[in-house]
Amino acid sequence: MDDKIREELLKYIGELKSLYSERSMLVMPTLRFAQEKFGRVDDNLIEEISRFLDIPAIKILSTARFYHFFTEEDSAKYRIEICTSISCSLLGSEHLYDYINRKFVDEEIKNNFSVTRVGCLGSCGTAPAMLVNGVLFENLNFERVDRVIEGLKSGKDIDKILG
């Protein structure tokens, strides 16, 4: 385990401790911090978190593996999550899913992107919607999707792609 990672974790937990009245309340925030900061929550990280919080590693592990957000492996550089729940699907989000997948047949590009179907994103009034690395894009059509993906490929700030 990298000393720097250890340091960052310790610092984060130290800052949070005064806010929460029980140690176990720190589990979810700390796992999230680790996932966002290091791109994964692997066994090494779980052991560290276990040590810092003084909670058995097996408990941290069972929590980490329950939630979709926490991944054992490094996540792709760009994670595209397309809502295929009912309201988005009524407005054709299945087409988007196919369209985006077709765009990534080229292996090289594919390695940088992951495309997944997800449940409702709470954007039903502005459907269809998708997330890219957690940033929400709404009212999608093919043209807007093209702009998002071109923006990603040219390394634009995700927040600013559609202005």
Partner: protein, 432 residues
């Protein structure tokens, strides 16, 4: 028409404290804190505020379950909005987070809690940032903290963020999650009001419910009640999505007619098509056909047509919609989101999803329709939490009301509807 939750949403920076204070923010909390906690609860009872998360339980009554003991009490605001079709709580947190905080002060005071939580769905980035900013603003101005609004009452409010599990919207799963555990619902009883977070008395309320509380003290219980129906006080945020010309969020009196919402407020069906069916309260409520839509949207009237008000998420389908495909989309979600704790749900949800998929792709037999109903009926009522029912209810209602479509799929060996086109509604959306 009165607007409570959305009254200043058109203002620039409506999420900031200055706007909130300009509109009389935190005055209701001052009023409430001048009363005894039991008097606050009585006022909420008289206002007939019912829980907006879906179950419609009377809020004041829920609060009165908290005993006057020496244990720590907790308020937990359920902001893990994830029911497909629902997007009201996200907007409340993004547009008027201070209204929620003010409601949390009143609710916490009423149940004698000194610590309160907002459990925000993991995917909601902007809502989280704005809630966080609003809490900092409220702390800086002494509205919460060691002396709430200059009184002797102490209140700490913290945010916990979810991590992508729909099940955590169930109140006991949410409590487990705050405790750092997998979000698996607990057996009830005991109910959270008796033994909740860390086995202490806990009240879990929905965002919209809590955000409405200040207005009870602003207008008084009688006036608040008059905004709704005699049994359901206040206004309701209706989330309209699907095949309407003006999808979006509408704050209307509780009990507004469903047809009026779809055809007047939301502008009617896109491309002037015909209404086919509606999921009136989110994806887990029984479907109603076009003919049944002349109904008032409140908790009791919706029961009358065999459905539920749920979260007030109105999902509209026009006559191009394939009901088998719609059901498949619903079930894909529940099959994925079952927490796996109870066998009927863990096995049943993926099973009914697979059967529906078979019907849709033309590899099913006629007997599969009854199998689908049979499995769904055996999920109902046989699980710890309502997630299983949430999958079974729309399944049973869709199959029963549109059985001919299911049979036709089997007869024709596959779907005979055109795929619905990609058609975002770019004009005429409403977020108020």
């Amino acid at each position: 028409m009165v607007r409570i939750l959305t009254k200043y949403w058109d203002e620039k920076d409506s999420h900031r404290i200055d706007v909130e204070l300009r509109y009389g923010g935190y005055e209701s909390a001052k009023k409430a804190l001048s009363l005894e906690p039991y008097e606050v609860i009585e006022e909420v009872k008289r206002a007939k505020l019912r829980g907006r998360g879906g179950a419609g339980f009377p809020t004041g009554q829920k609060w009165s379950f908290i005993k006057n003991d020496n244990k720590p009490h907790y308020l937990v605001v359920n902001a893990d909005e994830g029911e497909p079709g629902t997007f009201k709580d996200r907007y409340i947190m993004e547009r008027s987070p201070h209204m929620l905080i003010e409601g949390m002060i009143i609710a916490s005071y009423a149940i004698r809690a000194e610590m309160a939580f907002v459990y925000i769905r993991g995917e909601f980035q902007k809502a989280y940032e704005r809630m966080k900013l609003a809490l900092e603003e409220a702390m800086d101005r002494g509205l919460i903290g060691d002396s709430v609004l200059g009184s002797k009452y102490k209140l700490k409010i913290v945010i916990i963020r979810g991590a992508g599990a729909y099940i955590c919207g169930e109140e006991t799963a949410l409590i487990e999650s705050i405790e750092g555990k997998p979000g698996r619902p607990r057996l009830r009883p005991p109910f959270p009001a008796v033994s909740g977070l860390y086995s202490n008395p806990t009240i879990v309320n929905n965002v919209e419910t809590i955000a409405l509380v200040p207005s009870i003290f602003e207008f008084g219980a009688e006036k608040f009640l008059s905004f709704g129906t005699p049994t359901d006080g206040g206004t309701k945020l209706f989330c309209v999505s699907g095949h309407v010309k003006r999808p979006g969020l509408y704050e209307l009196p509780m009990g507004t007619n469903l047809k009026e919402i779809i055809f007047e407020h939301a502008g009617g069906i896109i491309s002037d098509g015909r209404l086919k069916a509606v999921l009136p309260g989110g994806s887990s409520t029984p479907i109603i056909s076009a003919e049944e839509c002349d109904v008032n949207m409140d908790f009791d009237c919706m029961k009358g047509v065999g459905s539920m008000l749920g979260s007030g998420a109105i999902i509209v389908m026009d006559d191009r919609t394939c009901m088998v495909k719609a059901l498949k989309s619903l079930l894909e979600f529940y099959a994925e989101e079952s927490c796996g704790q109870c066998t009927p749900c863990r096995e049943g949800c993926p099973w009914i999803y697979k059967i529906t998929k078979r019907i849709e792709n033309g590899t099913a037999e006629f007997k599969d329709i009854d199998l689908l109903l049979d499995v769904a009926e055996n999920i109902m009522g046989n699980t710890i939490c309502p997630l299983g029912d949430a999958a079974a209810l729309p399944t049973i209602s869709i199959v029963n009301k549109f059985r001919d479509e299911f049979e036709e799929h089997i007869r024709r060996k596959g779907c005979y509807f055109d795929n619905l086109p990609l058609a975002p509604v770019l004009e005429g959306r409403s977020m108020v």
